[in-house]
Structures are given as C-alpha cells and as structure tokens.
Symmetry: C2
Subunit: 343 residues, 2 copies
Amino acid sequence: MKTVYSPDHAAHAGHWEVARGAMVPCFEKPIRAEYVRARVEEVGLGEIVLPKVWSMETARKVHDPAYLAFLGKAWDMWAAEGNHTSALPMTWPVRGLRNDVPPECIEGLLGFYSMDAGASITAGTWKAVKASMDCALTAAEIVAGGARAAFALCRPPGHHSGPAFMGGYCFINNASVAAQWFRDQGAARVAILDVDYHHGNGTQDIFYERGDVFVANIHGDPKTEYPYFLGHADETGRGAGEGCNVNYPLPFGTAWDTWSLALDAACDRAEAFGAEVIVVSLGVDTFERDPISAFKLKTADYPKMGARIAKLGKPTLFVFEGGYAVDEIGVNAVGVLTGFEGR
Amino acid sequence: MKTVYSPDHAAHAGHWEVARGAMVPCFEKPIRAEYVRARVEEVGLGEIVLPKVWSMETARKVHDPAYLAFLGKAWDMWAAEGNHTSALPMTWPVRGLRNDVPPECIEGLLGFYSMDAGASITAGTWKAVKASMDCALTAAEIVAGGARAAFALCRPPGHHSGPAFMGGYCFINNASVAAQWFRDQGAARVAILDVDYHHGNGTQDIFYERGDVFVANIHGDPKTEYPYFLGHADETGRGAGEGCNVNYPLPFGTAWDTWSLALDAACDRAEAFGAEVIVVSLGVDTFERDPISAFKLKTADYPKMGARIAKLGKPTLFVFEGGYAVDEIGVNAVGVLTGFEGR
Ligand SMILES: [Zn+2]
Ligand SMILES: [Zn+2]
C-alpha cells in the first residue's frame, strides 16, 4: 500500500510537557515518524508520496472553526509576548467556569482550547499540523480512488483532539477529518477503529451524537490511565448516535490474548454497523516496552492485528497516532500494515 | 483588632507552578505570611492568637466532601508512586469529558479536582490548608463574639477554590467557609467583598445560586487575566441567587481613582442587600509593583480601602488572600486593617 508522508512534520518539536509534577522533554518527537518511514522503505511496503495541499473545509465540519483559527495564530500571539519556548496552557475551563466567552489573550486562549498541558505549540506546529491533516486526506483519497488500503503517516497525531480542544499531543483530529471526508464523498457509513493504547476521547466526542460514523476504542481503562475522563464502557453514543460508540477499557498488563478478543468484538460491531469504509487510528503504544503505556503486546502481535482488520474486507485507511518506544515503533506500525496485506 | 495566625502555614511550600510554558518557583510562598505577621506586630494591630482546631462540618457545606477527602489523601497517594516533588495535575475534565466518574489514580484525581497547574500539593499541604481554614473560622468566632473586626491571616489562600476543585494556589475556600459559618450562627445575610486582584471564581461559584450570601468582586478583566473563564460583568447569580452576585472587571493599569468607584458601588450593593456581616477576601496583589498583576494601587491607597469598608458599620472579617510583592505585602495588607480602624 501507499504511504503518505510529509517532511513538514518535523517543524513541530515541542520542548516540554508536564508529567509527574515536572516539565519533561516531549515524548511525541519528530524521530518517531522517521523510524516509521524508514521501516516502510525497509520492507518495501509501497510508494511513499507527498500529501496534496487541502483546504480546511472538511476540518471545519468536525472542529469549531474558531478553534482552528486559534491553532493557526497561537504561536504568533505567544511569541508576540516575548516567549521563545513552547506555548503551554496553565488554566482550564472546568465545571463551574464558562465555556462561552473566549478570552482575548494567548494565555487564556491556550487553556480555553485545550484539555491538558501535553500539546505544546512551537513556531512550526501549525505547519506540521496542517501537513498531518493533508496526509490523512491524501491517503483517504487514495482509498476512495480504489486502493484496498493506504497509510497516512500523520504526525502530530490526532485522536485526543476534540471539537474545540487540543491535548495529548493532538491538534487536528486527522482520523475524524478523514472519516468526514469519506462521508462527504458518498460513503453512507464509516467506522473508526482506534487501537491506540489511549482512549481516543476526541474522536468519540466528535461523533458521539451521530449515527453515520461508528467509533470503537480499545484502550487502557480511564479509571487509571490518561485521558482519565472518558472511555468508560457505558459510553454508547447519544441521540442519533446511540449505539454507535463502543469502548473496551482494559487493565494494565493486557496482552494479545485478551486484547485480540476486544478487537474481534470491535470488528464484529463495525461489520454489523454496515461500515463501507474503515478508518484505523493506528497507535502502537500498546507495545510491551512503550515508555508511557502499560499493555503487553509483542512485535509478533501487530501483523495479527492487521490481518484481523483485513478480514473485514473493506477499503481501509490507516492513520498514524501514538507509540513512543522509538526503536520498535517502525517495526510494529508497519507490522500491522504488512499483516493487513497478508505478507 | 485580633489577628489569627498559625505557623502551620509554612508546612505548605510548593516547588513549582506552570507559567509561560515553563515550571517556575511558586509565587505563593511561606515568606508572604511572615511579612504580614511581622507588620501586624510592628504597628501593634492587636493580639495575635492561634486558631482553634475545627471540624470539617462547615467546609462540607460549601465543598464536595469527596473533594475534601481527596485533599487529605492526595500527597500520600502521590508519594506512594515514588514522587518526591510537588504533585501537579496534567489533564483536566473540560467540556466533552466526564465529571461524574472520579478516576482511581492520583494523576487522574489531581486533574479531576483542579482547574489549573497552579495549586501544587506537598507533604505539608493538608496541614497548612486545614490550619488556614481554622484561622478563618477562629477569626469569624471572634467577630461573632462581638468584636468589630478580626483578621484571619490565612495561607494558603482560598478564593479560587470552587465546590470541588483547587486552583490558583487555593484549596479550601476560607472566606466561603467563614461566610457559611456566620449563616449557621444566625446571620440572615452575609456579604463577601473580594478585593484581590484576581476574580474569586471559587467564591462566586459556591454561592451563585444562593440568595443568602452576596458576593462582589473587583478584579482584572478575565478577558485578559487569570482565571480567564469567570468574572464577567454579566454574571449576576442564578435561581435564588439572581441579583446576589456582582462583578467589576477592570482593565490593566487601573489605579485608585477608578478602583475606588468599584469599591463604592460594591459597598452600596452590600448595604442594599442587607448584609449583617461582611467578609472581606483581602488580597493585596492590586499593588502597583505586584509581580504577577497589573493594577496600580499605591501603598497609601490601602488604608482608604479599609476606611471605606468600615463605613458599612458592620461586623467585619478580613480573610487574607493573594499578594506577591513580598516586601510591601505586609505594609499594604495591614494598611487596610489600620485604615479600617481609623488610625
Ligand atoms: Zn496513545
Ligand atoms: Zn490574586
């Protein structure tokens, strides 16, 4: 299958994130995408192509346009105040605070449009974020054009980004934009399978009241794992979306034997939903040696994951999400893709 | 007037807070209370007494008991994971995330019960927080016992703390607990005048739907100042509390000539409300050289502030809140109190 990759991802390299009460170097760093790209070449997965430049039209259907405008100007506002290192928020509009009046200063806006202190904005962030979305849409177009599958090597990732907030290293929800684009191209029903270790709270939130996009998540139980405040099993969708969301929260230490049962169940649900296209939010932080995660998947499990998804027999877009054990990230991510291709 | 002070405040000394995209040493530090205490002694304001030890009964009427229980155990949970420096949250339950399922781990709980990365918890935080509340209640009892006024030298401060969250250096909302206690003692109507530079979002939130406690805030406009997401002029109370909340957001650079007009208006409103007791949330970060604020009050203005409040002719409890220009913090805070006493 083809891979869509943009070197512009490297323009986004945040300095710090808050973890364990301290500033630590960002886990989500440029080398991640380069390891995956190198592995794509090493196994000869297929052609690597640059993304086309897309308009923001589709993104505006899944994100608040004011939020997207904020992303485009955040660094300039931050730098205008004399800051040189990554922009990070420091106050959030939790319950009891207002969400209807955007502040007029960058410190306030950063909090207004975020859910955590884990999405740092630098001078090159918007360029990378836009290129990441362009990768997803270009790969989606390849699939819509008749390819069995395509791989959007997106960076930064997207699945924590909600309708109007960044967080968890994510800014634009690439998988959601792609799913929306498939809908706009005529696919009646789209399924998103999120296999990243972390719950894709942004994706769930975006489609929670919609009946046309099914969302399944297999992830670390939010009772004890980031993002903590979404991803429970009782979240099944609302209104027109009732029954179109399913969560499989799993405990620390989950290995393939249990994890794969959840994948089977998620695939069955996507099939029953009648999905015409599958979008996979492909994070490989489920790996046993991932530095910030606690599942126990092994390198040999990733091709089996791809093979199971292939069994759905649907056009499939893979959108890269998380995964932080940089040495193995390429092998594991591409392992899913070669497994999908049955080789 | 008497001052209620506990040396236990010094047990709370956070290491870091997030500001301008970095960890910076906490502005809210023990020396603040010591400067104020020294000035109380220097001018001979009156006896300095230790607080009595109070139960949590009154606090449970203005805060979620589960939140208070969390505060009491947070450091132990944090330390049990091998952490040695201040506990700080890193993810918050903003819109689109759930507020009905408390996480089971300390990282999740810290975010669940907070609004920012500015309330760090250390080994001694609970001891100091409890002593701070005890100071407020003991001083309230002195006022209820017939004193014209009393000064609760609280540290940490309280006015950003809401029904179930910490933030802005605040954990228990001391002024709100004291106001509730006055109500329980038989005062039909209580007014809280918050003159700290920052909007007392927690206090407003706690009493927003109640008609028995009037809350007035004079503060930096939240459009451009912390806490950003509350404190606008259109927030007037809700339900039984409609008309019992008033905000005077003022622009950067506001000096006494304008600031005092807001104080006049707030006092007139408190009088019209029929307040039998006045609780003053006394922050002096309105000072022209405060390191994190942008008003332009001068040292000579603080006695005038006290004199204006004295004109209300009501029993008055002063509860210490913010103020970060440590050299002048004592002179300015005690200036309000001597001004109140007309000397
Ligand atoms: Zn992840
Ligand atoms: Zn303040």
